[in-house]
């Protein structure tokens, strides 16, 4: 097929020959299926761990709190990341009619990314984490990510500069938005001050950190799991269906609207927290506005299949892509719905949210990746798909497994929420013991685990099918193509401003950055000046050295993956936990630990609620004090000695971050910590615990637990001052 849109008279035009670098695409394809299997396997393991706590096996690096960050990082950055790079490198070369800028950069990109993944796989299970969701990797790995991302960007934009196609096709716009925005998100959110090679503290604290983190977290979904996949959709669906995209103009509106709006929506993860009301409202409004571009993209993709719907039945790749778009539509309908404050009040912190997330990652990302792989592997390995029957079987395993997952989490989430807020006529909680709401939903955790297993089986079926497809491939030489060089003769005199812009990659990239920075700046800059707005309370003091050490253990064990630390201003939460949280309570929290899920109860007011001995027993065996608990045992906290060697340095770094530690406190940090440990262990020893407990990590963790929410929580309630006009 040929067209004349950028083909002026051929006289005087230079014809060039070139080939594509498909070897790098093959490498990323192989990495995609390998890491995909690992990511989904980890997901299944942690799903079963929630259903049956014994599956934590009493091994530190196998516990839910440590494996869950590994699962999310593997799914997002290893599985989806490699798939994105495979799809982008394949389509970008063809859309530009040019070989990738540098074979060397391509290889550095590939191996660098795999090293990052391996480092994540090594560090996260050992509790080396920043404690910020989806950004848990420590600072040396963050630096490596930045470097490799720059390598990717240079390779990508270098190819764009060398292109032989004047117009930059819409898929590339989405790739550009991905590259520039992920760079901005990663750098801003990863600002941290190192303590040691494997430990750092976030530059931000409390409300600031929460806003920056969820600006990042939400937009990691937007610009790592959405925009690159939309780019792939705009290339691979027309290619697989052999039809142009349904409405190119809609794709332009889709792109600019999505890029502009998405970046504002982060605060919907923090509704009813101490985040400023205007930021919450802004996040909610822009989340609802996201319906428009999201559904625009979905409709554009699905309508591209007009006239070839029969192929969806016969071609597995197209079937996966069409299903993927359907789930994209569902997930992007559900997301804005969950962002409406009244709906969010019900859904937030419940299992509804993981259900929503997985309708996106399995339904949209996995299905789209499967569709792209079914297109790519036969082409790259010069073969025919091994078995359509296996692909169909894979499709049904994945779809049914996903439905099991989503429905069970809807049921679990709504059950949880209704039980949390259930009150009798006297205004008392009907289920005051949190564990009652946990036991009720454990059957749904089993259904979810079975659904996840079906998805895993579907993935193994795909691996086998793709392996056999590749194995049957016939070797062929590198194909050489010819195309006219891009020169001034391909410029259009008198074209509209946007038309010219579409041929200027660098200007286009800058405008994309401006589009995302406008929203980011308006959201984040006022927050960065939070110190001017948040009135500090004298009663809120920095953590003692031992409490700080205990907090690091809390982060290491991934407690934030199951427990929140913020009480929303809702009657049932106040009745259950205590006073609503205040922004000033978190000013020394580097990083914040509000969490996003309550598999266990909120801990913001946990301090002083139980004696030390209760915590001691609870960490050793949660069932000893809470019948029916699904929390794993943390027996190693009773064997690991407190390592005081870096304690002073930790306090010194905190001081640099603005925490008001006195110099004597930093100098004498170890002695102060030991004194507090002795005090706590005294009570434990009186209850029959061996004296050596004083040196063990569990004491530090207890000290932290006993501090949570105590400062502000002890203040007497002050009556709300109403405006004079309302006082009758």
């Amino acid at each position: 097929m040929s067209s004349t849109h950028t083909s002026p008279p051929t006289a005087n035009r230079r014809l060039e020959t070139f080939s594509y670098d498909d070897q790098i695409v093959k490498s990323f394809v192989i990495a995609t299926v390998l890491w995909g299997a690992v990511a989904i396997l980890l997901g299944v393991v942690i799903a079963f761990q929630l259903a049956e706590w014994r599956l934590n096996f009493g091994v530190p690096w196998l516990t839910f709190g440590r494996l869950r960050p590994l699962h999310t990082n593997a799914a997002i950055f290893a599985f989806c990341g490699n798939a994105i790079f495979a799809g982008i490198y394949y389509s970008h070369q063809r859309l530009c009619k040019a070989r990738l800028f540098s074979d060397l950069l391509s290889r550095i990109h590939f191996w660098g990314w795999q090293v990052i993944i391996v480092l994540a796989a090594v560090t996260l299970p050992f509790g080396i984490t920043t404690g910020k969701e989806y950004a848990e990797l420590e600072w040396p790995i963050d630096l490596l990510i930045t470097t490799i991302w720059v390598v990717f960007a240079v390779n990508f934009f270098g190819t764009l500069v060398r292109r032989r196609e004047r117009h930059i096709y819409v898929a590339i716009w989405f790739y550009i938005a991905t590259i520039v925005t992920v760079a901005v998100l990663h750098i801003v959110n990863s600002m941290e001050l190192p303590v040691t090679l494997l430990k750092s503290y976030s530059l931000y604290s409390g409300v600031q950190d929460a806003l920056v983190q969820w600006w990042y977290g939400h937009n990691a979904v937007a610009f790592f799991l959405t925009t690159p996949f939309l780019g792939l959709m705009y290339y691979f669906i027309p290619k697989a269906a052999n039809r142009p995209v349904y409405w190119y103009r809609l794709s332009i509106i889709h792109f600019w609207s999505l890029v502009f709006i998405y970046i504002w929506a982060g605060p919907h993860h923090l509704l009813y927290t101490t985040l400023p009301e205007w930021a919450q409202t802004l996040g909610m409004v822009f989340s609802i506005a996201l319906w428009m571009p999201s559904w625009g993209g979905m409709i554009n993709g699905l309508m591209t299949l007009r006239g070839v719907w029969d192929k969806v039945r016969t071609e597995p790749g197209l079937r996966f892509m069409a299903t993927s778009l359907t789930f994209y539509g569902m997930a992007t309908f559900e997301g804005p719905l969950l962002s409406i404050k009244s709906v969010n009040a019900i859904a937030h912190f419940t299992d509804w949210i993981p259900g929503h997330v997985h309708s996106g990652t399995i339904g949209w990302n996995y299905m789209m990746i499967a569709g792209v792989l079914f297109y790519l592997v036969p082409k790259l390995w010069n073969s025919e798909l091994y078995s359509k029957k296996l692909a169909n079987l894979q499709f049904w395993f994945a779809t049914i497994g996903l439905v099991f997952y989503i429905v069970s989490m809807w049921v679990a989430g709504i059950t949880q929420s209704l039980m949390w807020r259930a009150m009798d006529d006297a205004g008392r909680l009907i289920y005051p013991n949190f564990i009652e709401t946990v036991v009720k939903i454990v059957p749904m955790y089993w259904v979810r685990a079975i659904g996840g297993t079906l998805v895993l089986v579907s993935f193994f079926l795909m691996i086998y099918n793709l392996y056999m497809t590749a194995k049957r491939g016939k070797k062929r030489g590198v194909e050489v193509y010819e195309s006219y060089a891009l020169d001034d003769s391909s410029l259009e005199p008198g074209a509209s401003s946007h038309r010219k812009l579409e041929g200027l990659p660098m200007v286009f990239s800058v405008l994309s950055v401006v589009a995302i920075l406008v929203g980011s700046a308006i959201e984040i800059v006022p927050s960065l000046m939070a110190k001017n707005y948040i009135v500090k309370m004298d009663v809120v003091r920095p953590y003692t050295p031992l409490e700080l050490y205990g907090r690091d253990i809390y982060i290491r064990e991934g407690c934030y993956t199951c427990h929140s630390q913020t009480v929303r201003p809702m009657t049932h939460e106040v009745l259950r936990y205590g006073k609503p949280s205040e922004a000033a309570e978190f000013v020394y929290d580097h990083p914040f630990q509000w969490g996003s899920k309550r598999t266990g109860p909120d801990l913001a007011r946990a301090g002083g609620k139980y004696p030390h001995m209760w915590h001691y027993k609870h960490f050793y065996d949660p069932r000893a004090v809470t019948a029916g608990s699904i929390m794993p045992r943390y027996t190693w906290l009773f064997d690991n000695k407190i390592d005081y060697s870096t304690l002073s340095k930790k306090l010194a770094v905190m001081k640099k971050l603005g925490v008001p530690y006195a110099t004597e406190e930093i100098t004498n940090a170890v002695a102060i910590a030991q004194a507090q440990a002795a005090e706590i262990s005294k009570e434990l020893v009186e209850n029959g615990v061996p004296a050596k407990i004083e040196q063990m990590e569990v004491v530090a963790l207890i000290s932290y637990m006993q501090r949570l929410g105590v400062d502000y929580g002890q203040l007497p309630e002050t009556p709300v001052e109403l405006p004079s006009t309302e006082v009758k």
Partner: protein, 65 residues
């Protein structure tokens, strides 16, 4: 306390600014995109993924890539 903090954070000009920026940008690119003289151009460029360059054979030694 919460009331006091939020009153300090009352920044109504922020969402208003956001709204104005969005409306201006959205109007601009809708105008550019739907200009009638662009119609045939966009129909053409939508074909780009379907255009494969001409194959001239396997790579020979020393050939430019």
């Amino acid at each position: 306390m919460k009331q006091a903090v939020l009153s300090h954070w009352d920044l109504p000009w922020l969402p208003l600014t956001a709204m104005v920026i969005f409306i201006v940008c959205f109007s601009a690119y809708v105008y550019w995109t739907f200009r009638t003289d662009n119609e045939s151009f966009y129909e053409d460029v939508s074909q780009i993924p379907l255009e494969d360059p001409k194959t001239v054979g396997p790579l020979s030694k020393g050939q430019w890539q």
